[in-house]
């Protein structure tokens, strides 16, 4: 499959009075055409910064890309100027934001907000753009698009506004769509509609999607592959089945175990992850998750864990996969969902030493 995006060892930091915050610390992943990659993690894990960096939307300064490459269609976009980026944003890569209430311009008719993209990137005439805007509105499932095109954002409900956002994002047929918690602000029933819509449009347009969320239920619904982020690093990455049925990293275990499941009726205590995420001005020595990790080994506090490969597509950054590591049992809630996947290697293979 064709690779559309390759992120290599990306590092981003922000200068603040308290020192520099290393928000993203060496993230690498790639994305194929037509694929959906979900990035999960808690607030402050660097998932939003990573995706905003791909569009170079982080304010610079105080933000700075301190290392790494972002290859989009084989071209590095890190050294690109703002002017060059404007040709990419909205046309090649576009974004849907979390809050549909604040990401639309309240003083502009929604039709014009869609037309803007078309006029700018596709050199359409005003009339053609308007006709296309109406088409797009009906494509995203907004009834009576001829009338709605002349309305203002406040006349739309939250779910409808998110549909408008999707119409704007897809107007120029982008190759990559970044969706940053697009359904977090919506109700479950509306969320289900928006997710269905995004999947439907993706199959029609063959767009690649990076989907950022902290809801594992949503991940299971939309993703082909999943990257789990913690403290600015990807700690585990694999296909959706590998992450949900054969997770290897204790943080992924923690996330899965802390969610109550609907089918089991036992009222045992939830396995919460103790403590809070670390402060990234001074990232801890060794494994950033060690302090909250019940499975932490002595070496976790000393040396950063290396990345191991468990199958063609499955990677995890934990000392537990080291041949000398003690065998540990994941929490019960996780053990219940574990199954043997045929794709897994016999032994995890070391692919990259920790720094």
């Amino acid at each position: 499959m064709e690779k559309i995006l390759e992120v290599k060892d990306l590092e981003v930091s922000f200068q603040t009075y308290g020192g520099s915050v290393k928000a993203v610390r060496g993230v690498s992943f790639d994305l194929h055409k037509g694929e959906t990659l979900a990035i999960v993690g808690e607030s402050g894990s660097g998932k939003s910064v990573t995706s905003q960096t791909i569009m170079k939307l982080i304010p610079m300064p105080p933000g700075k890309i301190t290392g790494g490459q972002i290859l989009f269609n084989g071209e590095d976009i890190v050294p690109k100027t703002d002017k060059q980026m404007q040709k990419i944003r909205g046309k090649e890569i576009s974004m849907i934001f979390q809050d549909p209430m604040t990401s639309l311009n309240p003083t502009m008719k929604v039709g014009y907000q869609i037309m803007e993209v078309l006029i700018k990137h596709q050199n359409m005439s005003k009339q053609a753009a308007k006709a296309r805007a109406i088409e797009l509105l009906s494509l995203v499932g907004i009834p009576m698009p001829e009338r709605r095109v002349n309305q203002y954002p406040h006349e739309f409900s939250g779910g409808m506004r998110q549909r408008v956002m999707i119409a704007i994002a897809l107007a120029a047929n982008p190759k990559l769509l970044i969706a940053d918690e697009p359904t977090t602000a919506l109700d479950v029933t509306i969320q289900a509609q928006i997710l269905d819509l995004m999947k439907d449009l993706q199959s029609k347009m063959d767009t690649s999607i990076i989907f950022i969320t902290h809801d594992l239920g949503v991940v299971a619904n939309v993703a082909d592959r999943v990257a789990v982020m913690y403290a600015g690093q990807i700690v585990e990455m694999g296909t959706v089945d590998e992450i949900f049925y054969d997770p290897r990293h204790p943080y992924t275990w923690g996330l899965l175990a802390s969610m109550p499941s609907l089918d089991n009726d036992d009222k045992a205590e939830l396995a919460a992850i103790p403590g809070t995420p670390p402060d990234l001005t001074n990232p801890p020595k060794g494994d950033a998750f060690a302090a909250r990790n019940n499975y932490a080994l002595a070496i976790d506090f000393e040396e950063e864990p290396p990345m191991y490969q468990i199958s063609e597509t499955h990677f995890a950054k934990t000392w537990l996969l080291h041949p000398d590591a003690p065998k540990v049992e994941p929490p019960d809630a996780v053990k219940k969902r574990m199954r043997q996947l045929s794709s897994a290697f016999k032994q995890p293979v070391l692919v990259k030493e920790g720094n």
Partner: protein, 311 residues
């Protein structure tokens, strides 16, 4: 059968009465809350679940109906002494831990405000001791007492909000989306804390949320609201296994589960209020279709539901 702690009878909360933009946020709901149980209230935004909570605790004056707390009406005329007495028994935990703590007060003062108002402490020393005790109960420590809210993370702030609610030793706590603003890993911590407190102190909760999987986990019984009306009320298990009202079914079918296999085969149901096709003669009300399982329906539908109900 446990004792009824709270009886809500035909409660109505309308806003903008007499104006064209009248909103019937809560439109005649009736339910009981038993002592020591957790009642979950779910529904979409704007269905009136938060308004219900706020009206029960008298943050709003009810338009009509009654809220009886231990047999005593919450609304209606009260002397300030009676009101104070009542406020001590019922407390609230709010959704947004960033907005619900006064940024200019120390944690000790925030927690002790109720203690001061009700004169629960005999001396300054006693007051601080109570604060330390409460901080410990919610999993913080006493060094935190002299800090300000901005020094805490979201999960820690929510713990402070819980300590504040516990300070006056209430019987009943309304938790209005207490975990919606928190991260997944922190949500479980707060929910575990709430359950622990319930076990130790015999508290009764009204738990308002839209995250159905968490509601099912924490609640004994669940009420589903739609447009200001309670459409279904049953025990947590019964509601998930035998959802009767079409709205409940659509709500349940929309929850994404952290399991790729079920997600691939998911069939989503949508709800259209027109399916009921009520005529004017139909008397639509809460009917018991199985022991403890109430559905808002007409008589004809009730018979249908009874037939469908599987044990």
């Amino acid at each position: 059968m446990a004792k009824k702690l709270l009886e809500i009878k035909n409660l109505k909360q309308h806003f903008n009465i007499g104006k064209p933009n009248l909103v019937k946020a809560v439109d005649g709901i009736t339910f009981d809350i038993y002592k020591g149980e957790t009642l979950g209230l779910v529904g979409e935004s704007g269905c009136g679940k938060s308004t219900t909570g706020r009206t029960i605790i008298r943050l709003y004056d009810a338009t009509d109906g009654q809220v009886l707390f231990s047999g005593e009406d919450v609304h209606g005329k009260k002397s300030s002494k009676e009101l104070k007495n009542f406020n001590r028994k019922m407390q609230m935990i709010f959704q947004d831990p960033y907005a619900s703590l006064n940024p200019r007060m120390t944690v000790a003062d925030i927690i002790a405000e109720g203690i001061d108002i009700h004169g629960l402490a005999n001396s300054k020393k006693d007051r601080m001791e109570r604060v330390y005790q409460l901080l410990e109960t919610v999993g913080l420590n006493k060094e935190h007492a002299n800090r300000y809210p901005h020094e805490f993370s979201g999960g820690q702030r929510q713990r402070i909000g819980i300590a504040r609610a516990l300070a006056v030793e209430p019987d009943f706590i309304i938790a209005d989306e207490p975990i919606s603003a928190l991260d997944v890993s922190i949500q479980a911590q707060v929910v575990n804390l709430l359950k622990k407190l319930q076990r130790e102190k015999g508290l009764t909760y009204l738990f308002i949320a839209h995250d159905l999987s968490m509601v099912k986990y924490i609640s004994d019984r669940i009420g589903v609201m739609y447009f200001g009306k309670l459409v279904e009320l049953a025990t947590a298990e019964d509601l998930y296994n035998n959802p009767m009202h079409p709205y409940t079914q659509s709500l349940l079918s929309a929850i994404p589960l952290p399991d790729p296999d079920t997600e691939r085969t998911r069939k989503r149901k949508s709800y259209d209020p027109k399916v009921h096709n009520y005529s004017e003669k139909d008397k639509v009300e809460m009917r018991e279709i199985a022991p403890g399982h109430f559905v808002y329906c007409s008589e004809k539908e009730a018979n249908q539901y009874k037939a469908q109900y599987v044990k």
